[in-house]
Amino acid sequence: MKTLEKEGKTYAVHPVDGALEVKYGLPAEVRFCTRCVISNQRPSSAVEFAHKPDSKKHTIEFDESGVCAACRYAERKAREIDWTERERQLSALCDRYRSRSGAYDCLVPGSGGKDSVYASHILKTKYGMHPLTVTWAPHLYTDVGWRNFTNWLHIGGFDNYLFTPDGRVHRKLTELAYRNLLHPFQPFILGQKNYAPKMAARFGIPLVFYGESEAEYGNPVAETTKAAREEKYFAASAALNQMYFGGVPAAELPRHGIDLRALEPYMPARVDDLRRAKVAVHYLGYYLKWTPQECYYYAAEHTQFEANTERTEGTYSKYNSIDDKTDPYHYWTTYMKFGIGRATYDAAQEIRNAHITREEGVALVHRYDHEVPRKFLAEFLAYLSMDEAEFFSIADGFRSPHLWQKAGDSWQLRHKVA
Amino acid sequence: MIHVVDYGRGNLFSIVQALRQFGLEASVSGRPADVERADTIILPGVGAFGDAMAALDGGGLTSPLRSAASRGVPMLGICLGLQLFMESSEEFGHHKGLGLIPGDVRRLSDAGHQDPSAVRIPNVGWRALRWETRDPLRPAAYEQTMFYFVHSYGVVPREPEDWVASLTINGDRIASVVRRGAIVGCQFHPEKSGPAGLAFLRAFFESAMGRRTEGGRVREDA
């Protein structure tokens, strides 16, 4: 694949269509994993408060056999990792931290979705811990999301702090993130990622358990060998004036009607606070072999977790991430920017866990990936204070030409998984 | 040669598989010649009476079947097949049958869904039979043994001695097993009635062919 650089931009040279801009620092050549359905355009987790419109993405690694990092990790999960030994480490960790005074001994962030139900419940019932659960509210609760949240606490049996950010600020940040980054989920990610460590520091709870590591989905493999979460994802000593929110430098936010004091919930925990409170952040997925489908069954059986009774738009699944009406747009915008929609994410994970075959995954991607979520569109537009025409026009501007071509009135992916 | 008549209606696969369970092979076809040379004939069937008679007529099978009956060739009619043995049926109009057994086919009474304990029509499910005679086809534990039925019409033979077993649905007494000479019929599906059904089939073949069961298989007398 021939590429050329011009005025700070990268172009892929197409034999017919000429120079096609390659946005976001993505690989110019599109390839698909030979085992799952993910493409090499999949971005790894970003450090969100450094996320600018011209930021370059780190993307998932493919090895010489064309197998993605997540599939390789799945292979290790299935064959190499000694889960008995890992569980022994978890028991030892819990023994060390288990409270004798009745105080909370660990903090489990979550939403009452299948993963946080599993994590909190198994820590409580099997490992004898006394977790405090914390939740960062979805932008817009779905009915089933609220029911699952309350069932988690009242049937599962947990204490919980639910943080709901100032809706006016949250909406504005979401709108900015949509316009500047086509990343409407950023405010939620910022708040949610940072909430648990900050609460742990505040309450003096020394142990935080997340569920799966992002590495299961393609972050650098080195991270999967560590149980503890990288500090850079949740701690910062950087001054506010070096940070970006919604792709906008913090100093410019007042111009958009956001008082800098309102940013507190989105700020990462300070490293000093964490170190003082001796907060250790671990992935339960390092110690327990994580299968999202098994989390669904566990949650259904223990807290009456309900899947949706209809398919989530953009995919075939019914139990992944169903508590936020804006969630479908998170995936739809990744489809616009990277050509990877929700069905691809769901299918890739299910292929790695051997619930479906690659052939089935491909069929699901073709059938559902391109679906534009409509069910909550009116509400989401109102939330963003945007009309439909502007909404779609902004999104179109974020399509990377090396991924998309226009055919008449409609857009087609240049490369489809096969 | 055992012959299963294929006139486009019926679960022939299951019948053939059932026979295989006791080592019997059958020919399966719609050819009149195969009916003419058969030693034993099975007439299966699901669906509507008039339709089925038209298919038999159209396939040139009506005469060979009647002729086989008059020659005393053992025959087994299953479900609709039994109904076709009768003189006539009132299903979707008035139709003439093969006329091998005096009597007719009548629609089962619908008790209406006001009575929750009434039998719904079609009569679908397992039913125990009232065995009227000590026929070789009667199972050992005959009072409890159930067979699988699915039908909306029942046969009413005119001659009392033709009734081997009966069944009463919403007050209507119909014949569930019929025998007139070498001609046998069952309203239920023996190929769908589990071990009891297989035992019924085996008993039919033993009596029809004058053969014995040995090691689970029906064999020629030595």
Partner: protein, 269 residues
């Protein structure tokens, strides 16, 4: 119709006077495996179709229903091989559902050894398909499958594609309409209860049974023998479909039948 014989008026069916409730094993099939979900979601493998079906047949199951739960996702019918293998030596009625979209599909299913086909998605998309199917194959062959999701105290919505898509259709009205088109039976699954092992949606089964005259098979929620007895008693349903309770080894058919008989129910022994 008047009895022609002098033999006394016999009670309906079984000599004990009561109709036996059919006990049906329901196998949800994905490819080569039997899976079991909760609320029609999840692909957890619980066994192989051949082994499980033969075990249930040997244990005295009255019927087996095979549902291809991903047929409409992938637009294919791979379940026919499973049926043919079963029909070779399983001699109780076999029903196949999932992805039955045309008369051709029905012919293929029957030829493969099925006795009945269950139709849902295709029927809601084009109700006349039911009429065509009943006319071609007879009503006794055509089972309407309904996936019912509760929407109100006495209202349920029909879903399709194994609980993936909404239709906005009211279940009771739909059942009545389908009956007028010539179906022979209704396989009625409660999406709310299925996979939970917390008992059947008795309101649903009763409500549908009151609206139609065809036999109704209750499906979704069996956890204990008492659940089966309760739904049979409360609704007089004609059959009960059981999945998880058998697949997870919570009960065997003999133990279930004994428990039901103890509660005064007529079962096929």
């Amino acid at each position: 119709m008047t009895p022609t014989s002098s033999i006394a008026h016999a009670p309906s069916c079984g000599l004990s006077g009561a109709l036996p409730v059919r006990l049906i094993a329901r196998l949800d099939i994905k490819g080569a495996n039997v899976i079991k979900g909760v609320h029609l979601e999840g692909l957890r493998v619980v066994g192989q179709p051949a082994e499980m079906a033969h075990r249930y047949y040997a244990d005295g199951v009255d019927e087996i229903v095979y549902m291809d739960v991903v047929a409409s996702l992938y637009g294919r019918n791979s379940i026919l091989d499973v049926i043919t293998a079963a029909a070779r030596d399983i001699f109780v009625p076999l029903t196949v559902g999932g992805g039955i979209r045309s008369v051709t599909d029905i012919i293929a299913a029957l030829r493969a050894g099925a006795d009945k086909v269950a139709i849902n998605t295709a029927a809601l998309a084009r109700p006349d398909f039911l009429r065509e199917a009943a006319r071609a194959f007879g009503s006794q062959c055509i089972v309407l499958s309904i996936e019912a999701k509760r929407r109100g105290p006495a209202a349920w919505e029909a879903l399709t594609d194994n609980g993936r898509e909404r239709t906005g259709r009211d279940v009771l009205n739909w059942a009545e309409e389908a009956e007028s088109l010539g179906i022979g039976e209704i396989l009625l699954t409660s999406v709310d209860m299925e996979g939970t092992r917390k008992g059947f949606d008795i309101d649903l089964i009763s409500a549908v049974r009151a609206r139609v005259r065809v036999p109704v098979i209750a499906s979704g929620g069996a956890g204990f023998p008492d659940d089966v007895a309760d739904v049979a008693r409360a609704t007089s349903c004609d059959a009960v479909a059981i999945a998880g309770m058998l697949h997870h080894g919570l009960e065997t058919l003999p133990s279930l039948k004994t428990a039901l008989a103890k509660r005064g129910m007529t079962v096929r022994l």
